[in-house]
């Protein structure tokens, strides 16, 4: 768009600018700013209250733990399946690539229901068998990891597939013909060219994983200091009239989300120059 001369600034231009900026200010900017200012309305009091509350500290640790494993699982799975989808041809490939997006269009509440129906300790499809070998999924950290991995599953794949298609196979074939094995080809040729997309996907998955609420609420049982994650603590503290702690925890979660967004925005211009 930078190629064209700037369009003339008319009354319409100003009407649209004011409309858009006003709308976004009232819907997003002002409310988000208020959460920040409410968090700090008594200095660092709210944050130190939150950090001295063992339930909050436990919830933050559990959230980071679950998000870490969900991201590790999704990264390994995502890289593998992206390579398979782009580099190989096999029956059912199109179906698989369509199904991969499914978790994004399922309500978090339905995700929770689905995992309970499959892994619930007593009534779940696999529940009794897993309990038999001593694995508890529902109402335990394992269930939280599964729910989190479910909702953030497509994010890495969505970033990798277009980049893998873009870079083509010539370099990889050259490496193979020079005697490199599959792992060497991946590490020396493929990985360097997808690293930004991979990082982008990982950051998005991490943000999504840290913030999951609905699915985790159903699967975890929401017991303070046992299966309560950070987003669940926000709900509980708000409803218990510990608003300062709720705002402080929200602020931390929002800070991580916005930081992730800024990282992604900085990385993005490497892929598409929109002439801005």
């Amino acid at each position: 768009m930078a190629r064209y001369s700037a369009p003339p600034v008319t009354t319409g231009t100003w009407v649209r600018r004011v409309l858009v900026v006003g709308y976004l200010f009232l819907l997003v900017v002002w409310p988000v700013a208020l959460v920040v200012s409410t968090t700090f309305d008594n200095g660092l009091g709210n944050l130190s209250d939150a950090f001295s509350d063992p339930d909050v500290v436990y919830a933050l640790q559990l959230t980071v733990y679950a998000a870490f494993w969900a991201v590790v699982i999704n990264t390994v799975f995502g890289v593998g399946i992206s390579l398979l989808l782009v580099r190989y041809e096999f029956p059912g490939r199109r179906t698989l690539s369509a199904l991969i997006d499914l978790p994004l269009s399922v309500s978090p509440v339905v995700v929770g229901l689905a995992i309970l129906l499959a892994y619930g300790g007593e009534n779940g499809f696999f529940g009794p068998a897993l309990t038999g070998i001593g694995l508890q999924v529902a109402y335990a950290p394992l269930g939280i990891i599964l729910a989190t991995a479910f909702v953030s599953l497509p994010l890495v794949i969505r970033e990798l597939v277009p980049v893998l298609e873009e870079i083509g196979v010539e370099q990889e074939q050259a490496a193979t013909s020079l005697g490199a094995n599959a792992w060497q080809t991946f590490r020396r040729i493929t990985l360097p060219s997808i690293k930004w997309a991979l990082l982008y996907g990982v950051v998005l998955s991490l943000a999504r994983s840290l913030g999951e609420f609905g699915a985790v609420k159903i699967v975890s049982g929401n017991v303070a200091s046992q299966t309560q994650t950070a987003t669940l603590v926000v709900e509980q503290k708000y409803q218990d009239f510990e608003q300062g702690t709720a705002y402080a925890t929200s602020f931390l979660l929002a800070l991580i989300a916005v930081a992730a967004l800024v990282v992604v925005t900085i990385l993005r211009p490497k892929e598409d120059h929109d002439g801005d």
Binding site: V35, V234, E235
Partner: protein, 281 residues
Amino acid sequence: MTSELVAPAAASTRSRRGRGSTLTRGSGLGLGIAVTWFSILVLIPLALVVVQAVGGGWSVFADTLTNSQTWDALVLTVVEALLVTAVNVVMGTVIAWVLVRDRFPGKRILEVVIDIPFALPTIVAGLVLLSLYGPDSPLGIDVSNTRAAVFLALLFVTLPFVVRTVEPVLIELDPEVEEAAASLGASRATTLRRVVLPALAPAITAGAALSFARGISEYGSLVLLSGNLPHRTEVASVRILTYIENDKPEQAAAVAVLLLVVALAAIVSLQLVSRWVARRG
């Protein structure tokens, strides 16, 4: 969005390699592991939801639908999601237009602002809105525990969808075509209606479908804001949750499947509208 990105590649890969499988022993094993994991995590649990709903037979669907609380929740969910989608179609397109065609200081900040609703955890989104439109509102507007709160929460979480689908199409759309139309004597309104809108229609439709699907399945942002009052502000997701908590998985699954059917119906009808608009151009 990914499915569109994947589709052209599927064609090119096919022409390059021919039909059938190109899997080696190693990659075949990898595919086996990947598909197994995907089935364990996603496909089998989701299939069990459908099995649970269908297994109860029609009577469970009928019972669930004739429960007035559930029916009211479904109607509210669909109506609010439709209203929000309508606002998004207009505002999302205008926002995308300003982001692509206009230039002013601070525009890049707006780009980040658009994505904030995607990045924020939903429970935090609810709290964020409550701070400006709740009991302590500096504006004196308190919508908490009303239907307006549901509308507001859905508007917030669905903000990026239409903007982000229309933006790339608008970038590709050559302003010279519009200039040509104008030079041939077409008025601004005619150019918009006959040139710009038909080109944008598929993208607007795709964004609207995503926005509607997200709207009917929303849960987290409503928890603190809407109060979940039965018959008033309770949405379908909350009904599903209540059924789960009361140990009624059949009913929970029935509502979940109904929502899925509504989402599919919406996507199909939006496609039809999109084609109609594109053909009129």
